[in-house]
Symmetry: C2
Subunit: 161 residues, 2 copies
Amino acid sequence: MFDDPRITAVGLLVEAHAGLSARFAEQFEEHGLSPVEFEVLTRLARSPGNQLRMTDLAAQTSLSTSGVTRVVDRMERGGLLCRRACPNDRRSSYAVVTQTGLERLDETLPGHLRIIEQWFTGQLEPAALANLLEGLRRVRDAVHPGATAGSTDPAHGTPHC
Amino acid sequence: MFDDPRITAVGLLVEAHAGLSARFAEQFEEHGLSPVEFEVLTRLARSPGNQLRMTDLAAQTSLSTSGVTRVVDRMERGGLLCRRACPNDRRSSYAVVTQTGLERLDETLPGHLRIIEQWFTGQLEPAALANLLEGLRRVRDAVHPGATAGSTDPAHGTPHC
DNA sequence: ATCAATCAGTTGCGGAAGCAACTATAGCTA
DNA sequence: TAGCTATAGTTGCTTCCGCAACTGATTGAT
């Protein structure tokens, strides 16, 4: 029963993911970042104005809003980002990447891309890679509706303020 | 820079994994299990004698030995497994699945397989699935050496006691 | 205009897990 | 045999994170 091909398939996905995540974490740590800090930094840096409201940040990362509060606390303490009040809605605040944060990200990204190349995309012929990605995309679309469009949910395409 | 195909590739893998994990967790919870409890149960149930030494269990799960101590504490409290002293080596102890644990696993597995089918393996034509799995296997083998052979490390193929 | 309902963010609390220190046992060396 | 080193497992301490409760701001209904 445990050698059911479905179990094996999940095992492959989980192990590939875990293995890659470990390589990533190792490299992030060389730059003083945790995986979630790297994710926060990239999400902010790719957003207009290098900023995002706390709630939107929570929606884009796999964190709860309270989780975001604390990560932002830590990163603000570390100088990677800062909070900025939202002028229109006094309940909201933005997390904004600082210059330091952008520099840290610039330091980290090239190595990160190299590691992806080395352990993931470079392991396969271009055609095989395309097949793999197409399969993953199908599964992702099935299991995670709403992530299909760009990185921004249509409802949040335009910042509230 | 953030639409680099390598970043996208990792995003697909991570999102597919996260989405599936969430579906799994939901179903496990219906049977009163956490994901790591399910994993512990399956690792033990597929081992000879339905048992494994704490250290070997740690090696097969992504937990540290202290992590295993505590999961086993909880599961023993819940009646899913119990500790058994190792007669040859008085430092070691086995975690052994109880009848209750086996029954719980039997309740949980069919639904788990159905969910894998529904959200993962059933989403693709057989040939596309084979391509996906072959790609994942290549990545897994690259990134996670030692997981290639069966489920047991050659060095631990024969139980110590 | 007032009041209720909703929403953004924070905080208290508890659970899960890793690291390092510790205990007890095993095994090797002289 | 005595003693040193390595190993198995547990525990204290800390960090991270989610849930639920809370505060303050906004929106909508009467």
